[in-house]
Symmetry: C2
Subunit: 167 residues, 2 copies
């Protein structure tokens, strides 16, 4: 069994989780409020994030990441205030390890899908209405998601080192 | 220091690395031979993977993954045949851990970017020449890259458990 983590490392982990959560919240707000008017043959269409499949997927991954971060923040605060854990130490380390690993993959896939789609779609619609602004906000949202991924990847390295060895 | 891995786990790791390498080679061949003819206003344009930014990125990530897998396969075969390692055991475990982690992220980002771009671009060009076939081959290539990622992610879980503990 691993020794219990120091207070400094617990606070570092809590800060990284809070930073992840903050990035994801801002990313979600940016993306869901992102609208544009597309002009095609003198007709105007309203474009929202729902019209780009990659952005829908990005929203799904962001929400999943937010739920996980919030759950981890609550568990850490509960531990700091009461000194008890809801799970045994080993189960807790396994949960951190697999959680951080899977969620970091999920966040990265959302950000990469959004970057890939935005980079290739933006030139196709360039100049029609304010679509440039729409895609730029998409970039900003994906960048924040990428920052959330970087924090989670750092947590994933930490939770891998904390893992009890089996092989 | 971790105990040396058993022969069975060494062979399992070698098989997973070889499977990753094979998936990446087929993915690269599929993508680089993927061409189509796009018809716009009675003009015909030749489309290659280089014309889609996400596919260029996918090629870069695939080549990086292939180089890493090949390097790991050579190191493992050298160890199996001579019984010696080029690095100390601890350095070797660290190299496996960070290598598998970073390369799995790289492969996933390539596959996700390609899926994101293909899903959103395909309907835009649907019906113009044989572009549907072009994007379908893009999907196939990205799926193989995703399979390579899954193998590397499994190796990454294994190398995390094998890691010497520090925290």
């Amino acid at each position: 069994m691993a020794p219990p983590p120091s207070a400094a490392s617990r606070i570092g982990v809590l800060l990284l989780r809070s930073l992840t959560f903050a990035c994801l919240v801002i990313s979600l707000i940016l993306l869901t409020t992102d609208t544009a008017t597309l002009e095609v043959d003198l007709l105007e269409f309203k474009v929202r994030f729902k019209d780009v499949y990659a952005y829908r997927y990005m929203v799904a991954t962001t929400v999943m990441g937010m739920a996980y971060s919030l759950c981890q923040i609550v568990l850490t605060l509960y531990y700091i205030t009461t000194g008890n854990r809801l799970m045994s130490d080993d189960n807790n380390l396994q949960f951190d390890f697999y959680g951080d690993k899977v969620v970091s993959y999920v966040l990265l896939s959302g950000a990469a899908a959004a970057f890939g789609a935005t980079k290739d779609m933006k030139p196709l619609f360039s100049g029609s209405g304010d679509v440039d602004k729409f895609f730029n906000k998409g970039y900003a949202s994906a960048s924040l998601l990428l920052l959330g991924f970087v924090c989670t990847a750092m947590l994933s390295v930490y939770s891998s080192y904390a893992l009890p060895k089996k092989v």
